[in-house]
Amino acid sequence: MKTFVWRRAAAVSRKEVLHILRDPYTLGAALALPVFMVIMFGVAIEFNVKNVALTVCDSDQTQSSRRLLDSFGSSQYFLLHGVPSPYEAVKEVSAERARAALIIPPRFEKDLFDGRGAEVQMLVDGSDNSTVGPVLSYVSSIQTIASRRIADYDPPAPYDLRTRFLFNPELNSRWFVIPGLTVVVMSILSILLTALTIAREWENGSMELLLSTPVEPLEIIVGKLAPYGALGIIAVAFVYVIARTVFGIPFVGNLAVFGLGCLLFLMTYLAQGLLISVVTRKQTIAMQLAMMSGMLPSNLLSGFIFPIESMPKFFQYFTMILPARWFMTIARDTFLVGSSFFELSGSFLALSIFCVLMILIATRRFKRDLEP
């Protein structure tokens, strides 16, 4: 009696597919979300900061001070606007009209030609993390350029450092962000959608109805999850195609390895979604829990933007229990590095363990909750 019958699972699946198709709004949102996100991220994100608003107070007003301003202005890093006093320059920064202030003292040119060394002051807004780092590094390169241009100071360099950026030679921000987006997109769709749909069945009692039919619990699970799995795969395929065609992101690895990673990750998160729905049985709570256990970690703690290596030791270990972290490695390395299955075996092993574990816990919990 306890045999798994594919036909019954397929029937459950068919109902779920009809359910999804009948609601074009949800389907549209589920498919539009990945497309929308990839295009937005692809167009909007650029970590190489340019056009930083810089307010300038030039109290010297000489040829040298103007050439210094030229060096800042022609670097493309800064957009300059002048103010009459240092006090107002600081005020521009605190009113968010400028991210940095450059203050040139009245004796700038005189000090420079006296050979005493001329000093200018640069005040950088420390409240905005996305600009402060780059601005600090630009300043030192402008110092070199300005010293050469204005004071003809050009000592021979004792050595030269040649940096080769492997796997992303032009440091293109898109190459970095978009492969990681596959993880974020899948985590939203799989965990959230399953948690919500199944929680709804509990909420309005149709799950109990389903149980009184001869369908086995495992058949229900497989039947319910399969369509959402397919939806997740379609979404990733969208991301992949847009990434390759619209943004020209390379994919040097093996597509099968990436696909296997996708499947494992998807199954893990579907099972997690199922578990959430069984535990909560209420859509409002299921949604919040899905967000906290799936979405936020896969956005913030998976290494998507914020590097794992920089976290405190405890969190570096903590991220190991997040499937998203392992899949992030697989996604990035297959896209850009071209790692083989063998090189990624650690990540695959971890992902498989979570996958099996999550499916076991979810089905267990599901079955137990069914028995009276």
């Binding site: 949102a29 929308f36 420079l112 005040l123 110092q143 959230l192 590095v337």
Partner: protein
């Protein structure tokens, strides 16, 4: 306020807070989240696995390597491979220094030292920082070891970082995480609350009851404004006492900024709810809004670099205004015109969305 409205608000609050799990999600989770993400995430790059290929006579490169490891940014890479490229490809090292043939020290003596640095650039931000850090370390080491002291630059740029001189990451990140937590708990909750009634059919009952349209809307939104505001003291306390984020501006300004923000997000949630029939749709639609909001807020990605059209979008992003306000009030003490402008913009956004949802409510009820 009339009695119907008060009853309405009371019912909504009771319903939300009745569930113990919901109480935990609403009041305990934000604190945990803020602590967690405040501690864990940062833009600073640390613990980069560095390898250098050098023999015993190459003293300068050895010093460079040892200095790097001694600092807080680099840790030694463990690798069986000897080839620099393979080390990085296999994922054993993030950066490898390769000297010219014969060693870096001897090349320096000859005067044509080309030191090669290979960096794994899959993480763009990390790669940039690695190059910057190493440039400084190498420059310093070469200067010390070779007794080369080039004269100082004739132009000295004396740089000072205002408002966050030690570049504490938590000072950057915590206001952003605060804003993010508040948007989730207000916008999504308000949205779901209305859609749930539609889904269960109780909404029709509400329409037939002797309450006016505005009472329904206010009764459904005010409770979530209250809930969102009740989150603020909690997360503010964590920010100030746990993370030592300075609170330089006035608390009253911060409260009014938060109120304007919460009103806007609840109103947006209400507006979205008028387009949705069930909770699944409502949640997905919520995300379609939250993601761009986070993106255009300037919390993770610099706004200056976006195409101008997209920068315009950020003017309509309540999160961008609120994040700006939080940072300005907490870190800079609140500059009057800036704070006033942005609170006004938030209020205008709130009014606009409330008007829009009034219209939508009207049509859906017909």
């Amino acid at each position: 306020m009339n009695r119907t409205l008060i009853g309405f608000i009371r019912k909504e609050l009771t319903q939300t807070l009745r569930d113990k799990r919901m109480r935990i999600l609403l009041f305990v989770m934000p604190v945990i989240q803020l602590t967690l993400f405040g501690v864990a995430i940062s833009n600073e790059v640390k613990n980069i696995r560095l390898a250098a290929v050098f023999d015993s006579r190459d003293t300068v490169l050895r010093d460079v390597y040892e200095r790097s490891i001694a600092g807080k940014w680099f840790i030694p890479a463990k690798s069986r491979a000897h080839d620099a490229y393979t080390m990085i490809e296999a994922g054993d090292a993030d950066a490898v220094l390769v000297p010219p043939p014969g060693g870096f020290t001897r090349a320096l003596g000859r005067g044509d030292a080309h030191l090669q640095l290979l960096v794994n650039a899959t993480n763009v931000l990390q790669a940039q920082s690695v190059e910057g850090y190493l440039q400084n370390i190498i420059q310093q080491t070469v200067k010390d070891d070779m007794k080369l002291t080039p004269p100082d630059f004739p132009i000295q740029i004396n740089t000072r970082v205002l408002f966050n001189p030690d570049l504490e990451t938590s000072v950057f990140m915590v206001p952003g995480v605060m804003a993010m937590i508040m948007i989730i708990s207000t916008m999504v909750m308000a949205n779901i609350a209305i859609v749930r009634e539609k889904e269960m059919g109780t909404f029709e009952m509400l329409i037939s009851a002797p309450v006016s349209r505005s009472e329904v809307i206010y009764g459904k939104t005010i409770p979530y404004v209250l809930l969102g505001m009740s989150n603020l003291p909690l997360i503010l306390a964590v920010a100030v006492f746990v993370f030592q984020v300075p609170m330089r501006g006035s608390l009253l300004l911060l409260l009014s900024a938060a109120l304007a923000f919460v009103c806007t997000t609840v109103a947006v949630g209400t507006l979205i709810s008028t387009y949705c029939q069930n909770q699944q749709q409502a949640t997905l639609a919520g995300f379609l809004f939250i993601f761009p909001m986070i993106m255009f807020s300037g919390m993770m990605f610099p706004l200056e670099n976006m195409p101008v059209v997209l920068q315009w979008i950020s003017y309509f992003d309540p999160l961008a205004h609120f994040l700006g306000l939080l940072r300005n009030i907490m870190l800079k003490g609140g500059e009057t015109t800036y704070v006033a402008t942005h609170i006004a913009v938030l209020a205008a956004l709130a009014v606009a969305t409330v008007v829009a949802s009034f219209r939508r409510f009207h049509t859906t009820l017909e």
